[in-house]
C-alpha cells in the first residue's frame, strides 16, 4: 500500500495541478500527492488550443499572463526538460469585425500598456493584417491587435515537463486514480478517498479538476458556480509552415494555429449550441461548421485534408474567470473555472497556489478571483475570450 499520509493532495493532472504540485514541492512541501482520474493532460489541458498571449482585457488576466509568458519562455530551463515544449512565439493576432470590438481592443491595449510597460501589443489596420498574412481573407475585417511575443505551445509537453520535475522533487503522481470523496471534520479538510479505496490523510486539498471542479468541490461541501461546456477542434494533415502566428476571431468564435510539425489546429467556440455537460464526443455538425468557417478565413484550405477531430471541456463560470484560493472549508483550495484561457496561465497560477498554501504573500494579488466574489456581486468579466 502506498504511503497514505500527505501534506497536500492535488486533484487533477492538467497544467494547473502539475504546476501547483511542482511549486509546492519546490517550496519545501514534503509529501505532495497528485491524483488524476485519467492520464496526465487527458482533460482540458491536452485538448486546448494552448495559445499564449498577453492580450487580455482585465487587470488580473493581464498581470497573470505577463508573468506566465515569461515563465513559458524559461520553462524548459527551469524544469530541465530536454524534449522541449514546442513554444512558438511568433505572435498572436486577434481580428475585429465590428466597431464595438475595435473600441474594446483599443481599451484592452491601453490597459495592457498601463499595467505592463514592456507589453508589445499593437493595433493593426486591415492593410497591416493583409501584409502580415496575405492568404487570410480580410473581407469584413476592420483591424485587430497583435503581440509578437505571444504564440502557442504543446500542452502535453508543458504538463510532462512539470510532472517530471515534480516527481524529481518527490511528488507522488498517481494516474488513473479518481477521487470519490473528500472528508472534513469541524470545517477542516482531513482526507481524500480514491476509487481504489485508499484514504489519504491530508490537511490540504487543491481542486484542479477543471470541468469536474464543481463535483469535486461538492465532495468537500463547497458549492461553486461552475459548469462544463464542450468545445471542438479539427486537425489537418501537416503542411509546410505558412501560419507563424495564432489567430483568434470573436465574431465567428474561431481560432487557429499551425504546430511546428505543420498540422493546422482549428477550433470553433459555439456556446449557443454546444452541450454543457460532461460529454467529449465529437460531432458532424462541428466538422461542417469548422470547415466552412476556416475556408472563409483561408480560402486555400479548401482542398486540405482533416485527419482527425477531438472535443474538450471548458470549465465555465458566470464571469468566465477562474475561482482561485481558499474556501470556507479550511485546507480546501480552488484553482478551477478558467473558462477556456487557463492553459497559458498554469505556470504562474501554480506558483501562486503554492505561495497561498504555504502561507506566503502571493507574487500577484489574486483576491479578486475568490469564491466570495459571486456572493458579493463583484464579478470581473473578461472581454477577451472565446
Amino acid at each position: 500500500m502506498a504511503n497514505n499520509m500527505a501534506d497536500a493532495v492535488i486533484i487533477g493532472g492538467g497544467v494547473h495541478g502539475c504546476a501547483t504540485a511542482y511549486y509546492l514541492a519546490k517550496a519545501g512541501c514534503k509529501r505532495v500527492v497528485l491524483l488524476e482520474k485519467g492520464y496526465l493532460a487527458s482533460g482540458g489541458t491536452g485538448r486546448s488550443g494552448a495559445g499564449i498571449r498577453h492580450q487580455f482585457g482585465t487587470e488580473i488576466n493581464i498581470r497573470l499572463s505577463s508573468a506566465a509568458v515569461r515563465m513559458m519562455e524559461n520553462l524548459e530551463q527551469e524544469l530541465e526538460y530536454p524534449r522541449g515544449i514546442s513554444l512558438m512565439q511568433k505572435g498572436y493576432l486577434i481580428i475585429a469585425y465590428t466597431e464595438t470590438q475595435m473600441e474594446q481592443f483599443a481599451k484592452n491595449v491601453q490597459l495592457q500598456r498601463e499595467i505592463d510597460p514592456e507589453n508589445l501589443t499593437e493595433i493593426l489596420t486591415t492593410e497591416e493584417i493583409n501584409r502580415k498574412l496575405p492568404f487570410l481573407n480580410v473581407e469584413g475585417v476592420l483591424g485587430g491587435t497583435f503581440n509578437r511575443r505571444d504564440g502557442h505551445a504543446n500542452p502535453f509537453h508543458v504538463v510532462q515537463a512539470f510532472a517530471e520535475a515534480a516527481k524529481r522533487l518527490g511528488v507522488d503522481i498517481r494516474t488513473f486514480t479518481e477521487v470519490v470523496d473528500i472528508r472534513t471534520d469541524q470545517g477542516k479538510v482531513t482526507a481524500v478517498v480514491t476509487d481504489k479505496g485508499e484514504v489519504i490523510q491530508t490537511p490540504v486539498v487543491v481542486n484542479c479538476a477543471g470541468p469536474h471542479g464543481a463535483v469535486v468541490s461538492k465532495m468537500a461541501g463547497v458549492d461553486i458556480p461552475l459548469y462544463p461546456q464542450r468545445h471542438q477542434v479539427a486537425v489537418t494533415e501537416p503542411l509546410e509552415m505558412f501560419l507563424p502566428c495564432m489567430v483568434l476571431d470573436f465574431t465567428h468564435g474561431t481560432w487557429f494555429k499551425q504546430t511546428p510539425d505543420g498540422s493546422l489546429i482549428l477550433g470553433v467556440g459555439d456556446p449557443e449550441h454546444e452541450v454543457k455537460e460532461i460529454n467529449q464526443r465529437c460531432t458532424w455538425e462541428f466538422m461542417k461548421d469548422v470547415a466552412e468557417k476556416m475556408v472563409f478565413h483561408i480560402p486555400r484550405l479548401k482542398d486540405v485534408v482533416v485527419v482527425r477531430q477531438w472535443a474538450g471541456l471548458y470549465d465555465m463560470t458566470p464571469d468566465s474567470q477562474a475561482i482561485l484560493g481558499a474556501t470556507p472549508v479550511e485546507g480546501f483550495y480552488l484553482d478551477v473555472g478558467w473558462s477556456g484561457h487557463g492553459f497559458q496561465l498554469g505556470p504562474i497560477v501554480g506558483k501562486i497556489m503554492a505561495e497561498l498554501i504555504s502561507g506566503q504573500k502571493p507574487c500577484i494579488d489574486v483576491s479578486c478571483m475568490s469564491l466570495e466574489r459571486f456572493e458579493k456581486g463583484e464579478l470581473i468579466p473578461e472581454p477577451n475570450c472565446v
Partner: protein, 104 residues
C-alpha cells in the same frame, strides 16, 4: 506490374492515356488510380518521409496512410492511390509536407 486476373475484382480496360511523372512521359488507363499506372511503369518510390527523407512506396492503397502523397497538376498532398488518372496529368514527387502557398 499490373494485376490482370483477380478472383473477385474485374478490371475493365478503358482507353490508354498519357501523363507525365517528374517530366517523364508515361501511359496508363484512364480512370485507374494514378498509383496503379505508376506501379505498372516501375515507379516504386512515391514520396520521401518528411523528417528523415527516406523513400516511401505504395502502402495502404486506400487513401489512408499518406505514403503516396504527390503533387498532381500542381496540387500538393494528393493521395495517388485513390486519385483517378486523367489524360495529360502532371504528376510530381513532392518535396516536403505540401506547400499551401506555392502558386498553382
Amino acid at each position: 506490374m499490373r494485376i490482370e486476373d483477380h478472383p473477385i475484382l474485374t478490371y475493365p480496360r478503358r482507353r490508354l492515356v498519357t501523363f507525365t511523372f517528374d517530366g517523364q512521359e508515361m501511359t496508363g488507363y484512364e480512370g485507374e488510380p494514378i498509383a496503379a499506372a505508376l506501379h505498372d511503369a516501375g515507379v516504386r518510390v512515391l514520396r520521401e518521409s518528411p523528417k528523415l527523407h527516406r523513400p516511401r512506396g505504395f502502402y495502404c492503397a486506400i487513401g489512408n496512410c499518406s505514403s503516396c502523397l504527390m503533387r498532381v497538376d500542381g496540387k500538393p498532398n494528393v493521395r495517388v492511390c485513390v486519385e483517378e488518372l486523367k489524360e495529360g496529368m502532371t504528376v510530381e514527387t513532392q518535396k516536403g509536407k505540401g506547400d499551401l502557398l506555392a502558386e498553382l
